[in-house]
Symmetry: C2
Subunit: 351 residues, 2 copies
């Protein structure tokens, strides 16, 4: 169940570049873009050419290298100043997913620990750190898959929202990792993929990925999730997360909260699959998670065609927050957090 494509890959050593699949072109076109500078990467993150909390984290780590490359031979002061600017640029690209800030912090800490060394040496160590973050992300996906697969039974229907798959991570995914791992252990599942308006990550990315990996799936509009639940076709819901507060409230793609309410009303367990880097323990509950508001045009001109009256007021939050009490379990690389509460989260994360 491997694929030939990589969501992101670094080519070359220090002085190299980051290749990303341009996810805005899928599923009709498969094309990689090459980021040789941090501006190209920031634009790619903003416009969702690369998206998914874990993938954004890995991309941002490499982005730090892209940022410092032009000043590699300059003074340490110039290098560190440029590094700080790069981190600021990347941090401003998207506000909700915490993995971005986590990866940037880790890169900064690494640089700090090397103060006094040659700038080339620091840069080489930073690239190594980014590659380590990348490799850890791969392993995280596999671990989440393994832990989560045990929650699914042979023959079940599983509903997912947005894309928390290989395309949202370095490989394999979070929510979809659970499905892939279950399939690898010979459980036959049927996946219902919400198309996920406004940007259709479910239709464009999840359906594409599932078909590529040979998983049975059915594409539905977001408004059909309640109906497939009512028809008894869904026995579990699994989604990803972009930021999880200390109490377990989880921000994820807009629409996730509604799916969680519907799952509860139909007696279906709702699972969140996310790495420990998604937790933001500095935030006590979900009400403090910043929610990105995006352009009206994503709704009114979503597919290159005007589908609403000009100047109609639009509300377009990119995320919503699912309260912990609606989440049956959070599947992270360290294990399954259940029940989802402050104590169990602290215990699992060993803080």
């Amino acid at each position: 169940m491997t694929t030939h494509w990589k969501t992101l890959r670094w080519v070359g050593g220090v002085g190299g570049s980051l290749f990303l699949i341009d996810q805005t072109l899928l599923p009709t076109e498969f094309r990689e873009i090459e980021c040789r500078d941090v501006e190209t990467l920031v634009e790619a993150i903003r416009t969702l050419r690369v998206r998914g909390a874990p993938a954004i984290g890995v991309a941002a780590a490499y982005g730090v290298i892209l940022g410092v490359q032009p000043v590699m031979k300059k003074s340490e002061a110039a290098f560190i100043e440029r590094l700080r600017q790069t981190v600021e640029q990347l941090a401003a690209s998207r506000p909700t997913a915490v993995n971005l800030f986590w990866a940037l912090k880790r890169m900064e800490t690494k640089a700090e620990s090397l103060r006094g060394r040659q700038t080339e040496e620091i840069a080489a160590a930073l690239l190594e750190e980014a590659q380590k973050i990348h490799e850890e992300d791969r392993q995280m996906c596999r671990a989440i898959g393994k832990h989560g697969a045990a929650l699914l039974q042979d023959g079940q229907g599983v509903l997912t929202h947005c894309n928390a798959g290989g395309l949202a991570t370095s490989d394999y995914g979070t929510a979809l990792a659970v499905i892939y791992a279950a399939a690898e252990s010979d459980k036959t599942l049927h996946v219902f993929a919400d198309e996920t308006r406004p940007l259709l990550q479910g239709a464009r990315l999840t359906a594409w990925e599932l078909l590529q990996r040979g998983i049975d799936c059915t594409l539905i509009c977001d408004s059909m999730a309640a109906q497939v639940m009512r028809e008894g076709k869904v026995q579990a819901v699994v989604t990803g997360a972009d930021r999880i507060a200390a109490n377990g409230d989880a921000a994820n793609k807009i629409g996730t909260y509604g799916v969680a309410v519907l799952a509860k009303a139909h007696g279906i367990p709702f699972y969140v699959a996310a790495p420990s880097s998604t937790f933001d323990l500095s935030i006590s509950d979900g009400s403090k998670i910043p929610i990105e508001q995006r352009r009206a045009e994503e709704i009114t001109h979503g597919f290159g065609r005007q589908t609403a009256p000009p100047d109609v007021p639009v509300y377009n939050p990119a995320f919503d927050v699912t309260p912990a009490e609606l989440i049956a379990a959070i599947i992270c690389e360290r294990g399954v957090i259940r029940p989802v509460d402050r104590e169990m989260i602290a215990e699992t994360l060993q803080v």
Copy 2:
């Protein structure tokens, strides 16, 4: 709060034609199509150029005239045979909305009552009957508006799904009639319009209509309804219906059931506004309502662009059924049915 446009209008006497706003072109283009024969009308109903249960009923009544026009000077037998064929053609155009069958039945009953008369005389009486159905529909909308407006308070946020407005009826609407009537009695409301995938009737038609009539509205994706409810922005939900069973279970545009579940979870009353012709008392509960399945392309190529992988399996039911227990009241032209149960429905409909 009147508009210059008419969802449908008959021009000429017997031998005339039916003009319909081509609703598939809204909101970017306003264009009427002229139906001179029943085939053109059937195509218009199938492709949703005209849609909305009450509007389909009125259109079908006129469609009977279109069907018999070519045989007006033939024998009574030929006339009646052609009338039967026309009714069959129209009945096969869409399966869920019962107003279609109700209007056809009424036209057939009228024709039966005139057996033995000159065919021209029968045709003239049929046109009169269609115009009566049309006028009754206009009055029904106003009565629904009046009854329903009392349920809404000044300053409330009201969410609606799909389009149950002037465009779904001869004029004024059902769910939107309630909002228009409340606004006319000086209540300031803010409407949240679900865009209503796959065919975006909310974005294309409801938002267009609301702006035309000067009602404050915000367009959201279907997946955002839960979030605006959670933020306390919605105090009531009003939708239309395509068929209501004897126990109050109501079929309406796909996504309505999910909205009803979400409304209940947030303690928000969910109202259905529909004329008495929407009730199908021959059906004991919602499980017996036939649900139209539509083409996969509405989801995979909804905006003139491919947005899903080729050959991805798709589930595309056009309607769902909201169980009576989720409906706070049904607003019909005869009054407000509350609680929604078999007895109260029978009493209101006087059967």
